[in-house]
């Protein structure tokens, strides 16, 4: 898994790329938790995520919790259909704020 963190307006955008699975999700978790601690809106751009497993989704859940504690917004953007199915199975598609694209998320939070 690769990642890129950029600051766009008020928001921090974390672009994840590749597989977010048992071996890479601890890295994703660390990056996301560091970002949400800054107290600014965080957008996770998932356009480049080819696969995300439960450990990756759990890291997103934990980051959402961290964002709420820090009083900042946390949103997902450009989620692929398979990843959305994983979220839907665990009924998490209703928990996360999900935007169709990074641009749409930035229009709301940036």
């Amino acid at each position: 898994m690769n990642h890129e963190v950029t600051e766009e307006g008020k928001a921090i955008v974390v672009a994840l790329e590749g597989d977010v699975d048992l071996s890479s999700s601890p890295d994703a978790r660390k990056i996301l938790l560091e970002c949400v601690r800054k107290g600014r809106p965080v957008i996770v751009d998932m356009a480049g995520v080819s696969y995300i497993d439960s450990s990756g989704v759990a890291s997103l859940v934990e980051s959402l919790q961290g964002a709420r504690k820090a009083g900042c917004e946390f949103a997902l953007a450009a989620i692929s259909e398979p990843a959305l199915r994983v979220l839907h199975l665990a009924r998490l598609d209703t928990v996360f704020t999900i935007h169709e694209s990074r641009e749409a998320a930035l229009a709301e939070l940036g």
């Binding site: 601890p26 934990e62 199915r85 994983v86 839907h88 199975l89």
Partner: protein, 278 residues
């Protein structure tokens, strides 16, 4: 449900070729060959003593085969080193018939167990993963209960949650509906279909519950006396005219249709000589 047979492009996650299993002199599986494709639900069924449970145990790597090949996720399971076997088992989930939950652990601890055994994930991540799986199996909020506090259907669902906590590529289920009332059994069938659709996993189910088998199967394998009698879609199975298949579908046992003299000889422990005389 997609019941199309063997899409040409799909990946085979499990390939069994000429599998022979025997206990002592007795041959239990006699040249069994079958494939399971990615995202497919394969039902294995057959009467008592057909060899279906033995086949499942071989697929799960719990038995040593007499001969034949089992390739799982592209790897010949007989050629794996100990470490390679461990890596393969991380990608396989098993829901045992009786649940096989540890009675001294809470439901949540049971579900987290594979993660604690096989990963270095943070405890918080593991807890969230366990709760996610409990949501999937409709047991949200039950993580702190002990297995003894659950009903039979709940134990089965908790066992499913544990079996899928590592997001396996292949899930093996041993008689998931056995001992459950029809409503609970049907809900479990729906769960199997949802898991396949959402997670894309291949699921191998051993069952003798016909309603359940026809509801969830993409393809069905019928075993009889250790041999493959049929492999095909549910529609093809329904259309199959052979007497043995019809007996199975209508729950007629061999004993009911068999020779009364042969039955008596079995009871008396008599064997026939080579010419067929008692």
């Amino acid at each position: 449900m997609d019941t199309s047979p063997e899409p040409a492009e799909s990946v085979k996650v499990l390939e069994v070729e000429n599998l022979v299993a025997q206990y002592g002199e007795r041959i239990i599986l006699d040249g069994v060959s079958l494939d399971v494709h990615e995202g497919e639900i394969m039902i294995i069924m057959g009467g008592s003593g057909s060899g279906k449970s033995t086949l499942l145990r071989h697929l799960m790597g719990l038995e040593r085969r007499a001969s034949g090949t089992i390739r799982m996720l592209g790897q010949d399971t007989a050629a794996l080193t100990g470490q390679e076997k461990l890596e393969l088992h991380k990608r396989i989930g098993v829901a045992f018939q009786g649940g096989a939950l540890f009675s001294s652990m809470t439901v949540g601890e049971n579900i987290m167990l594979p993660l604690q055994e096989h990963t270095d994930l943070d405890l918080r991540t593991m807890e969230i993963m366990a709760r996610m799986k409990l949501e999937v199996v409709d047991l949200a909020g039950f993580e702190d209960l002990m297995p003894s506090e659950l009903s039979g259907g709940m134990i089965k669902r908790a066992a499913f949650a544990r079996a899928i906590v590592m997001d396996p590529k292949i899930l093996f289920c041993d008689e998931p509906s056995a001992g459950l009332d029809p409503v609970v059994a049907s809900a479990l069938d729906d769960l199997i279909l949802r898991m396949r659709d959402a997670l894309g996993m291949s699921i191998v189910v051993v069952t003798h519950e016909l309603d359940s088998a026809f509801k969830i199967a993409d393809r069905m394998t019928v075993l009889d006396a250790g041999r493959i009698l049929f492999i095909g879609t549910p529609d093809e199975l329904r259309a199959e005219q052979s007497e043995r298949i019809q007996n199975l579908l209508h729950r007629r046992t061999e004993e009911e249709t068999g020779d009364p003299e042969e039955y008596l000889r079995r009871l008396l422990g008599e064997r026939l000589d080579k010419e067929g005389h008692p």
